[in-house]
Subunit: 408 residues, 2 copies
């Protein structure tokens, strides 16, 4: 199957426009703080939300909207700079955002997906948003993905957007997405905020199935800091404008769509992990030889979440003992005497541990490998044939700096 990366982000699929603006939630006028995505025609929508018991008000409102509209959506509105969470009037404000956007777009409020990201527990003022929405609607354009992407960033240092095209039934279909996420990243259902759009024609039920299955191996396998956010949400709108025969049953076409979706989400996962707050390195922890997938996932997550291991990676220190230590306390049932560990990057690969015991390896070569910006930690459990991969980043001074004074 042929999946081709293309330009345009969320504006690549047919019928989608986007825009971003600075409305004044953030004082920094050089960065957008609000974003909109709009589809010419309404589409089926699916979403997954954080499992944190504390849920941002926008998530509740989005869930209510999609319930009321029977899963039909046409637009996304999202602000940064304030999470609209743990506020007494949170629901009211999130509903007001939908209402204002709906009026301006001449659609129904329940067809809107709403998101917020930023500080928790500070009331969100509706005034700047009221002023910003007309500007967003006016600026909606075919090349607005970049501007929208900026509008949802917080401590992110890099924009995270992608678009792909693929074929179903001889018709070219597209998926585009923007994402944000840098700190408080340890998704347990979805990640901070990911807005995916597609022009594929698909039933609402299969769209939700595809998304729910997808996040288990993608966003739920990232960790920047072990903190599961209150505002995690991944949503997708598919407006059917690609003109393919509607995907309404399992089979080849559904698989093709799922594969394209995975291409998009995995790309964003690596972008989010690699742009973790303060990160200098993307870490991919690849587990092979597990006796079941759950064990593989627990081990992968255990290693990628270890503060000690993450700090060692920052220092390019091949301290594999910390890998073994993290596997040991992860809660997975493994035989520690069968574990092999290797480090790999563009500079090569080096085996450091065999059967749970250290190998005599070149520290110099290991350093060379670990100084690269993308590191794979290859772990073989030698108990079976199941695999899993988790994505994370190193722990750095910058992480502490960013989070020691986030609200100021």
């Amino acid at each position: 199957m042929n999946i081709k990366e293309i330009n345009g982000g969320v504006c690549a699929p047919k019928g989608f426009k986007a825009s971003g603006a600075h409305c004044g939630i953030r004082h920094n006028r050089t960065k957008n703080d609000i974003a909109m995505i709009f589809s010419e025609v309404s589409g089926v929508a699916a979403a997954v939300y954080t499992k944190n018991l504390v849920k941002g008000a926008p998530l509740t409102v989005t869930k209510n909207n999609l319930q009321k509209s029977n899963g039909i959506a046409q637009a996304v509105i999202c602000n940064s700079g304030n999470a609209n969470t743990c506020n007494a009037n949170g629901i009211e404000i999130a509903e007001k955002m939908c209402e204002l956007a709906a009026n301006e777009l001449k659609i129904k409020p329940e067809n809107i997906i709403v998101g917020s990201t930023g500080v928790i527990g500070q009331p969100l003022d509706i005034e700047p948003i009221k002023k910003g929405i007309p500007e967003l609607v006016k600026n909606l354009s075919d090349n607005g993905s970049d501007s929208a992407c900026e509008g949802i960033m917080t401590t992110d240092t890099k924009k995270k957007e992608i678009a792909v095209e693929f074929e179903i039934d001889g018709k070219i279909c597209r998926i585009g997405a923007i994402a944000k996420g840098s700190g408080m990243i340890h998704p347990n259902m979805a990640t901070m905020l990911v807005f995916i759009v597609s022009d594929v024609s698909i039933s609402a039920e299969l769209l939700q199935t595809a998304l729910s299955e997808n996040v288990k191996d993608t966003f739920n396998m990232i960790s920047v800091d072990g903190d599961t956010s209150t505002n995690d949400m991944v949503s997708i709108i598919a407006n059917g404008m690609a003109g393919n025969e509607k995907i309404s049953e399992l089979g080849k076409n559904f698989d093709t769509f799922k594969e394209a979706l995975k291409f998009v989400t995995l790309y964003l996962c690596k972008k989010i992990a690699g742009d973790g707050e303060g990160a200098t390195k993307l870490l991919e922890c690849v587990i092979n030889g597990a006796d079941n997938i759950n064990t593989a996932k627990i081990v992968a997550k255990g290693v990628i979440c270890s503060s000690l291991f993450k700090a060692a990676m920052f220092g390019a220190d091949a301290n594999w003992g910390r890998v073994l230590c993290a596997i040991g306390y992860s809660g997975a049932e493994v035989d520690v005497n069968k574990i092999d560990v290797a480090f790999e990057s563009e500079a090569g690969k080096i085996d450091v541990c065999h059967n749970g015991t250290g190998l005599d390896f070149s520290e110099e070569k290991a350093k060379e490998i670990l100084l690269k910006p993308e590191i794979k930690i290859l772990i073989s459990l030698n108990l079976g044939d199941k695999s899993a991969t988790a994505y994370g980043c190193d722990l750095t001074y910058e992480y502490v700096k960013i989070n020691g004074d986030y609200r100021s």
Copy 2:
């Protein structure tokens, strides 16, 4: 009941001597790297070990020894600079340490508790230890606790030792202890290394009961970095020299002993948490109003382990949203709309969140409170009358620095 803090550390209880030495495991000659504790007469011993699947060889050997000796011990030998873990010859080396110490002390190897702490996965050379043991034995003295305490330190910046006296049956009894632990601290049974001695007369069974119950509320409630070490061990030897009537059943005397033991272990917990790698602050997370103790513990641990919250405390930022966020993903069943949060230190107390929603508080006052070295985070769940406290520290640049290059 009267528990009085006294001087002398592990040499305070009758019949105990200690010593430390630099034998050459560490290149830094200014710091001891090996320690010994010895009792004139043998005593009953109890120990708890890490729950990490990867267990240091010294733990296995200690466990074997105490099994072979029916829980009778007379000495402790412990080195720093190398954890003797994940090494092919680990067991052999740990047994050799016991054998060498036993020969020099003229006791049996199975009466020795052996520990190691330091880097994982580098073979431990027996030669320096062989040379060091005669020196340790020669130097055993009544004021050697300090020197022994230094011998077990790794990245610790402060010595952790304490002794108390209390009365049972009109006899003065004593407990003394030394501990080490700074990084890789998230005990799930015991903490890094704690050696406790007492001259109380008690049955082996009740000694183990007291210790096992104790760690649940003390060492198992600390977290510096979420990493459960492979070498965690808490041991206690009670040699009976206080002359009290032997404690061999539950009741008042056993309760007195447990209370004194808790005084000692809680003191060490706070010392370990406050001296967490890179820490500038001791954090105590106090949960009240839980409907059961397990929920209280899960919430306390969830908050104390949150990297984002820890970084906020480093920055003296009253970011209570991160407290709510951590509670929300902790896995505990709570009603987020009933949660109250306050911060407290010697500078006062400030309420920041009521019923899950932010209060309008003085940022200036909050800053003043959070700039102190010991901070209490007071969380009321308002669902019942159960409580728990967890101990931790802030996340700082220094933590990253220390762990980015630990092996070098």
